[in-house]
Amino acid sequence: MRAGHRATIPQGTLDMLILQTLAAHGTLHGFEIAESILRVSDDVLQVEEGSLYPALQRLLVKGFILGEWGRTNDNRRARYYQLTPEGRQYLGLEVQEYLRVTRAIGRIVRPLEA
């Protein structure tokens, strides 16, 4: 596998990644969230714009994030998102579940590790 090749984000984990990003970095707008995920994942996980905004809307519906209009550094209008208590709670449960499943999978595939 070539280093630097970007992978698609597995289905279902995008929500978790967005929430985690907001939990770690406070208030961000859409572009910043996508950039953050790319950067923190070491350039592996590229967020499709086509999935990002629907995901953000979904999280808004569920009340896990709040959106507020503000100004960027160069004075452009942008919608800034932040985590809500319900979102934080949901994030905790999702991460827990994800790690549990990943560890279980890991236990099965580990013998194949060279």
Binding site: E49, G50, P54, Q57, L60, V61, T72, R77, A78, R79
Partner: protein, 871 residues
């Protein structure tokens, strides 16, 4: 919950939210482009690449929006909004469509409410499904009859399928309360009465078993009676009333709304015991034991019948017994009528739907360009279909709501004109079930009238409609014309069925009303009077009192004749039974060989007052008293029955009414239809009321009078004996009540037929107008080429006449087929009556031609030049 609020808030601000999202995405694209520029792309390349990463923006927005509102819901709301706006822009169309639907759906809901309340709802008693009427079943005629006092104990003896049973008998009897005598529905019942209806008094207690056995002087009264006569339920306990010279005490009050049987207000232990096995004096009800089926009960009663037939072969030869669910008994007579009305109103609804479908077809032509545009922009045909159906549903629900209001109002009017003997009249209401039905019918109607127009509109070809001048021809002149014409033909056909039905019923009613009754009904006043009596002396005295009353009544100015009768035609009670003729029948002639006749007690002058001809012999006179030689008068039918070809005068006759004596026949009178105008006159045996006193203390006094003598009459009676209760009515009123049901039926059907006729005529007018407008330019051309106005008129009229003819032909076939179901309700006219059919067809045909004529005349007055120019 909070999520729902968030969603609703989003929907309310949908437009701003959409704009916000667009702005957000624009920023994202700009930032992405800057990023790409940093990586070395030119500004244009960067901008293009950035936009590409976003993909189809429209789809993105749709997907984002779908997070908030499910797509189907979003589309539905949009369709509703657009549909409502479209209707608001065409107020004329919308008003006509909604009104038409309101009439059809409202009428349907109204009649359904009646059907549901009367036929479908269980009776208001506890476990009413298990309450049955126990009846005698005559196996030779298959008709049910009353139960005799002698047979009754065998029917309910254990082992029996009933956990409780009671006899009952009574009617409007003279009761004296607080010194005032009046007629109150009073019934004698048995000890089982408490348990059959599982009664719970709201004051006092029930009559005890011991009191039933000893026939103690105690009574129960209804809540209504207690409130109106004694001031309340509690206050009624301990009060007394007088009946037949006995003082009775109120011991309990039954709950409001309980009036079994037949509007009863007062109940007491059965007061008239007759253990005879051949006299059917009682009715009986019972409640089945839990788990016992109706069939089992019927089987048991058949067995009892067989056993009694063996034990008493001469009297019980054709007698068996049966049980009928009480509800069926109540509603039996009106069942056919109610279903008839339901069918009629269904036809009206179909006609209304056809009209609205026509309207929609016309409207679709105007919207064809809009539809074609949407198809070209990517809306699928199913999507269009869905939108149009949503619009139809909107129309249907609007019509249904308006119809509901009409139904409420209509029911109010209906109840006022309904025959008083329609069962369960006071239970008729628009209940939640009817509301649900209204909703269902609204949606079903929407589907019915909306599907075809929607289908056609959605299928419209794109190319033709977007061409210039295409709006007129899109749904294709020929094809659309055919569709609308077909609908109108269907309307006319259905309207013909209804009109014919209404005509037949109306003619039946007229025939019933004018049937030769054998007596006169106009100008006759009827006073119902009752003199309480218990001992023989009192009964005889009552006879004398009535004689004095009749004399006094004859003195009143304006009164031409006064007479009394027990057994008034179409009156509330009468008597019948077996009779024997001396020389023809002997004491050992078995009962089933004896002839039957009606028994009536009359005073001298009765036949003259009623306008019945005296065919031979004489009428009764003042000398025919109790001590005198017993005499009788027979009707012509009876004379034909047992004295064919001979004179009955002087022969002797005997009957089982009261006194077992031979009576000398002194006269023969003409036949009277005593029971109902529809029944043929039967043999009648008349006896002087003073010679059969036990049945003669309740009389109907008939006065032939001119002017308002009612006051003078009741004053005359009161001055002789103020304790005699009186009810006054005219003989016409009695007669009118007897034909109330046929009158009600024909009235309603006329209303529905008129509705259907008006709607179908409007339909013809609409289609013809539209067709004429379509052929505007063609007519203009013809006129320019030399055609006269009348040529144009006949051309257009011909197409209208063709429609009408086809519709009438189809309607005729349907009507003849449906006529079979009407037969049982017709009197004096057959369902295939050619006169009625011709009249109905002519009426509708004329209306249709008139409706086609008007647009044709308008077209003839066209200015050819303008017509051709308006291409």
């Amino acid at each position: 919950m909070r999520e729902l609020i968030r969603r609703i808030r989003y929907w309310l601000h949908a437009r701003t939210e959409r704009a916000a999202l667009e702005e957000e995405m624009r920023l994202h694209v700009a930032l992405r482009a800057e990023r790409l520029q940093d990586q070395g792309l030119t500004p244009q390349e960067a901008a293009r690449a950035a936009r590409r990463t976003f993909g189809n923006e429209l789809q993105l927005e749709e997907r984002s929006r779908e997070m908030w509102i499910a797509r189907w819901l979003d589309e539905l709301l949009r369709d509703l909004r657009l549909g409502a706006r479209g209707f608001a822009r065409n107020p004329g169309f919308t008003a006509v469509a909604v009104l038409t639907l309101a009439l059809g759906i409202g009428a349907t809901t109204g009649i359904f409410s009646v059907v549901k309340s009367v036929l479908l709802e269980p009776l208001a008693y506890r476990d009413s499904a298990r309450i049955v009427a126990v009846q005698t079943l005559w196996t030779n005629t298959h008709r049910p009859g009353n139960v005799s006092g002698g047979d009754y104990p065998d029917l309910i003896a254990e082992p029996s399928p009933f956990s409780a049973a009671t006899r009952y008998s009574g009617g409007e009897l003279a009761i004296e309360i607080a010194g005032r005598a009046e007629f109150i529905p009073t019934f004698g019942v048995d000890a089982g009465f408490n348990d059959v209806f599982q009664l719970n008094p709201i004051a006092g207690r029930l009559i005890s078993r011991a009191e039933f056995t000893t026939k103690a002087p105690v009574i129960l009264v209804s809540h209504g009676l207690a409130a109106s006569r004694f001031g309340g339920a509690q206050q009624a306990i301990g009060q007394t009333v007088k009946f037949d010279d006995r003082v009775l005490t109120v011991v309990g009050v039954l709950p409001a709304g309980f009036h079994f049987p037949l509007k009863a207000e007062l109940w007491l232990p059965i007061f008239w015991e007759n253990q005879n096995r051949t006299a059917g004096n009682y009715k009986a009800v019972a409640i089945l034991k839990p788990g016992v089926s109706l069939e089992a009960a019927r089987a048991h009663l058949s067995t009892v019948g067989a056993r009694l037939q063996q034990a008493f072969p001469s009297t019980h030869r054709n007698k068996s017994f049966t049980a009928t669910p009480l509800k069926d008994l109540f509603v039996e007579r009106s069942r056919n009528t109610l279903w008839l009305l339901m069918a009629a109103v269904g036809l009206v609804l179909l006609v209304a739907c056809a009209n609205v479908a026509n309207l929609l077809l016309a409207r679709a032509t105007a919207r064809s360009r809009e539809m074609a545009l949407r198809v070209a922009l990517g809306a699928g045909r199913p999507r269009l279909l869905r939108q149009l159906l949503v619009e139809s549903a909107l129309l249907g629900l609007a019509g249904g709501t308006a119809g509901l209001l009409l139904a409420y109002a209509g029911l109010g009017a209906l109840l006022r004109f309904a025959p008083p003997n329609l069962p369960r009249l006071d239970e008729i209401r628009v209940d939640p079930g009817a509301l649900l039905f209204n909703l269902a019918v609204s949606l079903a109607a929407a589907l019915l009238f909306g599907l075809w127009p929607a289908w056609r509109a959605a299928r419209a070809g794109v190319h033709e409609s977007l061409k210039q001048g295409g709006a007129r021809s899109v749904i294709g002149g020929g094809r659309a014309e055919w569709a609308r014409g077909a609908l109108v033909c269907a309307e006319i056909a259905l309207a013909l069925v209804l009109t014919l039905g209404a005509g037949l019923l109306f003619r039946s009613f007229l025939a019933l009303n004018s049937v030769e009754l054998g007596y006169q009904t106009t100008g006759r006043l009827v006073l119902t009077a009752s003199i309480p009596a218990r001992t023989e002396a009192q009964y005889l005295q009552a006879g004398a009192t009535f004689a004095r009353i009749l004399d006094s009544l004859r003195q009143i100015p304006g009164v031409f004749g006064a007479a009394g009768v027990m057994g008034l035609p179409t009156g509330p009670y009468g008597s019948n039974g077996l009779y024997a003729v001396e020389g023809l029948h002997h004491s050992n002639t078995p009962s089933d060989k004896l002839p039957q006749a009606g028994f009536r007690l009359t005073s001298p002058g009765y036949f003259a007052v009623m306008g019945v001809p005296l065919l031979s012999g004489r009428d009764f006179n003042e000398r025919d008293l109790f001590e005198s030689e017993p005499v009788a008068i027979v009707s012509a039918a009876l004379a034909r029955q047992v004295f064919p070809g001979q004179s009955p005068l002087g022969r002797r006759i005997k009957c089982g009414l009261e006194r077992d004596v031979w009576m000398k026949i002194v006269g023969v009178v003409g036949d009277m239809r005593n029971d109902s105008p529809a029944a043929a006159p039967g043999p009648e045996l008349y006896m002087p009321y003073r010679q059969q006193p036990y049945h003669a203390n309740d009389l109907h006094l008939v006065l032939r009078a001119q002017g308002d003598v009612a006051h003078a009459a009741s004053a005359a009676i009161t001055s002789i004996d103020p304790s005699i209760p009186i009810k006054i009515a005219t003989l016409e009123q009695f007669h009118s009540d007897a034909v109330a049901l046929p009158r009600f039926r024909s009235l309603l059907l006329i209303v529905f037929a008129t509705l259907a006729a008006v709607l179908s005529t409007a339909g013809v007018y609409g289609v013809m107008s539209y067709a004429a407008a379509q052929r505007h330019s063609e007519m203009g051309l013809r006129l320019a080429l030399g055609a006269t106005g009348s040529n144009v008129v006949s051309l257009l009229l011909a197409s209208g006449a063709k429609l009408a003819a086809i519709g009438l032909a189809i309607g005729l076939v349907l009507a003849l087929a449906a006529g079979r179901f009407l037969e049982s309700m017709l009197f004096g006219v057959k369902s295939r009556d050619p006169l009625a059919i011709l009249a109905a067809a002519a009426l509708l045909g004329a209306a249709a031609l008139l409706a086609a004529l008007i647009p044709a005349l308008r077209a003839a007055r066209l200015d050819p030049a303008t017509a051709l120019r308006d291409e």
